[in-house]
Amino acid sequence: METLKIIGAIITLIGSLFLLLGSIGLIRMPDVFTRIQAGTKASTLGTLLSLLGLGIIYFDMAGKIFLLIVFILITNPVSSHMLARAAHFIGVKKADLTVVDKLEEKGKNHETKNSAK
């Protein structure tokens, strides 16, 4: 029982380290899009791991924690996607290192199709 608790606590610690990495990435990354990636991907993983560790420690709330993990897995990507899309549409500056921008290419193709009609 005690070993199970320690395993859960270590998983929670790893999760909190991922949260820390996420917010360090938020500061260190060069432009908006990479910051969105760091801020939401890393912190989603961190939240999942820390909730998983708590679920191992407390078996009686494991069901609710499973539900919470499912909710977070559905909702967090949606918010980051909407934010990145909005940032792209209002023309936020990209970093110099950016190589490929599929959404812009797709938009250009779309516009040329519309003008051809």
Partner: protein, 86 residues
């Protein structure tokens, strides 16, 4: 042993909350601030889960449930506001 590790984890979460607060104030476009806001909501969900451990009342996880389901809507609304299609 497990308690000490969990307290260290809570301290690290608080530290990351403060670090994302730094992003809120430096480099002042609105999108950056919204990213910081989003990260703070995600971190505070796991902070609420940690508080259920510290206070020892498992019933508090309901609040985290509601937070996990509703907190993303604020960010989605701001995104809609930014792309002018609210």
């Amino acid at each position: 042993m497990a308690n000490i590790i969990l307290q260290i984890a809570g301290g690290i979460m608080l530290l990351s909350l403060v670090l994302s607060l730094y992003r809120f104030f430096s480099s002042g476009t609105l999108v950056n601030r919204v990213i910081a806001f989003d990260t703070m909501t995600i971190i505070s969900i796991s902070l609420i889960a940690m508080i259920t451990h510290y206070s020892g009342r498992t019933i508090y996880i309901d609040v985290a449930l509601i937070y996990g389901l509703l907190s993303f809507l604020g960010v989605v609304v701001v995104a809609r506001y930014l792309e002018k299609s609210l």
